[in-house]
């Protein structure tokens, strides 16, 4: 049993290394705090965090460099369950989870919980249906399994295409996030940020493949969880006196709910002020809509009216400032009808701000029962797509190839979800705590005495936070605050009154989340191309060194391509991320699960099912999602194309059942799979069976 002993020693050594590492990181943050108190400028703190963490990841990459195939593709298959759990956690939690999720919860209340449940509950499916069996199968990629189970290159090729489709849109969004965070942390431009971040990603995955990525992801998980927890705990102490936000925010939620009722009810003094502001927005929007409707004639009448005001003021010998004001609104008038249309459309969009604030804890808020039913349907459909998508994204499933055994793969799913859970069950608490701060401390305060964090963030980026005294009463109303979701996480350290170092730490945590996910995704794409396409289909005689070399070269190409696409700032990147889940769910989940649980599943059925599921999902998005519609030139009304009022983000809810149905029906009318395929299925079901047809050893 020397293998087991050496594995034990290896685990013990890992524990020691990462304990020292965590201690060192904490020490580093404390040292920076002391330097800040001694007067180190903020800009420097940003640079130190960026350089120190990227160098750290690069250092791990250099130490883990390898050109051995098993090390490169599956980290030598000796990653202990706990560490694989941490790596999966970092791999899984992207910039969207780290920065965006608490903001989504802040803005959407109960509806945002679809992301919390969807992105955790999917691991139940991973644990029950996939991880142990894929580990027993024991090759390198997901298309590997499809190729072996469904007898040939066609299934493998379809798998490669779907893997690339969903991973590429996802990696573009991560690199975009890296660019944003780097820019914010250092003040460099977005494009420079993208390429600095890219260097951090590449030096790691390029040199050491899965091995380097795994050990870096563990390090990144530790940073991101520390960075997430410190500000929330502090804020919880500020509002409740107890440092366990997850357990005590129920009482804060009750206070928020009471405050919401007060602000919504126009009979209370605060509520009346809110109603006043909302009415101003409603009037502004309807005036703009009226002008839009009367185009092009309204352009000239409006201009004439302004001109008349100037002339009247002059004729009546009005005070110079009145004339100047009239002249100013005339000068500010759009140059032509087209510009006027754009400006009025912007004005008409403030209609959304005329709505009463949403009740955070209310499920499916809507105006009537029918609308509530639609909201509920979409809530459940989104959860379904996110869950099944989680259990089908290749960069996550691939991680379970890296554990030493089936037993460890099972435990590893538990540890993965446990480490993800720590962040996910904190995010709803953070959203409520920040909401409490805004609703009770900011709303009702005087414009002359805004808190410091408000001033600094509205200066950084007005799309994140802007407050304008709409009704000119000198008091902040909730309706006067326009808030962007990302600020919830980014500004928490300042809201909680922590030093700037913690803000830097949060940005470094966001960077770790984005980099680790990008690493895993890039590796998935490069492996699908080099291992499945090149080695298995084009050149089966390639030597190990050639394969790893090809993979590294492709990694570079894909990374540069993704960075290029990200730097174009393609519209609707958030939609594309969610689309990746629906596409992966429809493409992979039925074929993978049926392949393991139903021996009768045939190759041609699986291929047809994968294609049909993906195509119908893609088609639904292309005909109902605004950006996709414009790309594909769809002009028919959206309402003609929606099925049962399902939003495009949940298109997988059609693709997954269709995939299952087609695979089952076609399997039943085609001849049963060959005996050796059936033996492969048995081989993956029983941890100790040695397959006759498969080479299960890890090279």
């Amino acid at each position: 049993m020397s293998g087991a002993t050496s594995q034990k020693a290896f685990t013990a050594q890992l524990k020691k290394i990462y304990t020292w590492y965590t201690g060192g990181f904490v020490f580093f943050v404390i040292a920076l705090t002391i330097l800040e108190l001694m007067g180190m400028p903020r800009q420097w703190i940003g640079y130190v965090f960026l350089i120190a963490t990227v160098l750290l990841y690069a250092g791990i990459g250099v130490m883990s460099r390898t050109s051995d195939a098993s090390e490169y593709y599956v980290a030598g298959r000796r990653v202990p369950a706990v560490f694989n759990g941490m790596a999966t956690g970092a791999d899984w939690m992207s910039a969207a989870s780290f920065i965006g999720m608490a903001g989504t919860l802040y803005l959407q209340g109960y509806s945002g919980l679809a992301f919390i449940m969807g992105w955790t509950g999917g691991y139940v499916l991973v644990a029950l249906f996939l991880a142990p069996y894929l580990r027993k199968f024991g090759q390198f990629t997901i298309p590997d399994f499809l190729g072996a189970r469904y007898g040939g290159n066609l299934a493998r090729f379809v798998g490669v295409l779907i893997a690339i489709l969903c991973s590429f849109v996802y990696v573009v969004a991560q690199i975009y996030g890296v660019g944003l965070i780097t820019a914010r942390l250092t003040g460099l431009s977005f494009e420079v940020g993208v390429f600095v971040g890219l260097a951090g990603i590449l030096v790691c995955s390029f040199l050491g493949g899965m091995k380097a990525v795994t050990w870096t992801q563990v390090a990144q998980y530790i940073i991101l969880i520390i960075a997430y927890m410190i500000p929330v705990v502090w804020l919880s102490v500020k509002h409740t006196g107890i440092p366990l936000p997850q357990l005590v925010y129920g009482s804060v939620l009750q206070k928020v709910t009471a405050r919401e009722a007060e602000l919504i009810d126009a009979k209370t003094p605060a509520g009346a002020k809110e109603a006043e502001v909302r009415k101003i927005f409603a009037d502004r929007a309807s005036a703009a809509e009226a002008k839009l409707k009367a185009l092009p004639g309204s352009y000239d009448t409006e201009k004439a009216a302004l001109q008349k005001a100037v002339d009247d003021a002059k004729a009546a010998n009005a005070a110079p400032e009145v004339v100047a004001a009239a002249q100013k609104s005339l000068d500010g008038y759009p140059k032509d009808a087209k510009a006027a249309e754009a400006a009025w459309k912007r004005d008409a969009a403030v209609k959304a701000r005329a709505n009463a604030p949403l009740r955070h804890a209310e499920a499916f808020p809507a105006k009537d029962d029918k609308a509530r039913d639609i909201a509920r349907k979409n809530f459940l459909a989104l959860i379904f797509c996110l869950m099944v998508g989680t259990a089908a994204l290749p960069h996550i499933l691939m991680r379970y190839y890296t554990t030493p055994s089936v037993k460890e793969a099972r435990s590893s799913v538990f540890w993965s979800l446990f480490f993800i859970f720590l962040l996910y069950f904190t995010a709803p608490a953070l959203a409520v705590l920040v909401k409490f701060d805004v609703y009770t401390l900011l709303v009702g305060s005087e414009f002359a005495k805004l808190p410091a964090w408000v001033a600094s963030w509205s200066k950084v980026d007005p799309s994140l936070l802007s407050i304008v005294d709409v009704n000119k009463d000198g008091i902040v109303q909730l309706a006067e605050i326009a808030i962007g979701g990302d600020i919830v996480v980014l500004a928490t350290p300042e809201i909680a009154g922590l030093p700037y170092v913690i803000s830097g730490l949060v940005a470094a945590g966001g960077l770790a989340a984005a980099l680790s996910t990008a690493d895993g995704l890039l590796l998935t794409i490069a492996n699908a191309l080099s291992h499945d396409l090149y080695y298995k289909m084009i050149n089966p005689n390639a030597s190990t060194a050639t394969r790893v070399g090809v993979s590294k070269a492709l990694l570079l190409v894909v990374a540069l391509l993704a960075a290029y696409v990200a730097s174009l700032k393609v519209a609707d990147i958030l939609f594309l991320v969610s689309a990746a889940f629906s596409l992966a769910a429809a493409g992979f989940f039925p074929a993978l699960v049926l392949g393991i649980f139903w021996k009768r599943t045939t190759g041609i059925a699986a291929v047809l099912g994968m294609v049909a599921g993906t195509v119908v999902t893609f088609y639904y998005m292309a005909t109902t999602q605004p950006w996709m519609r414009s790309v594909f030139g769809v002009t028919s009304p959206v309402s003609d194309n929606t099925w049962w009022d399902i939003a495009p983000i949940s298109a997988g809810v059609f693709g997954v059942p269709l995939g299952f149905a087609i695979i089952i029906i076609v399997s039943l009318i085609t001849p049963a799979p060959k005996r050796e395929v059936q033996e492969l299925v048995e081989h993956v079901r029983y941890p100790n069976l040695r397959g006759d047809t498969m080479n299960t050893t890890s090279n």
Partner: protein
């Protein structure tokens, strides 16, 4: 290699456990979500119950499901002699 009755029994116990756990997963996610406004809107330690389930309760259940599955299956492997490293 030939499958024995013992193998089949192992597999059917695995399937049974998988079905039970999946049913629990379904109830805490979709049934609670579906009835969020009605049955499950009562107050639970300060939270409306459906909100608490969505934010914390269901997550805890997911973690426990996976923990239990790993523990049970790892034991079952031993019991049926199909654990890795155990050749027949």
């Amino acid at each position: 290699m030939q499958l024995t009755d013992k193998h089949r029994e192992y597999w059917s116990r695995n399937l049974r456990l998988t079905a039970v756990l999946l049913a629990i997963w379904f109830v805490v996610t979709f049934v609670v979500g579906f009835l969020a406004r009605d049955t499950f809107s009562f107050n639970f330690l300060g939270w409306p119950f459906a909100f608490w389930m969505g934010a914390q309760g269901s997550l805890v259940v997911y973690v426990v499901i996976i923990w239990y599955y790993a523990r049970y299956m790892n034991k079952l492997d031993q019991e049926y002699g199909v654990a890795e490293g155990e050749e027949e």
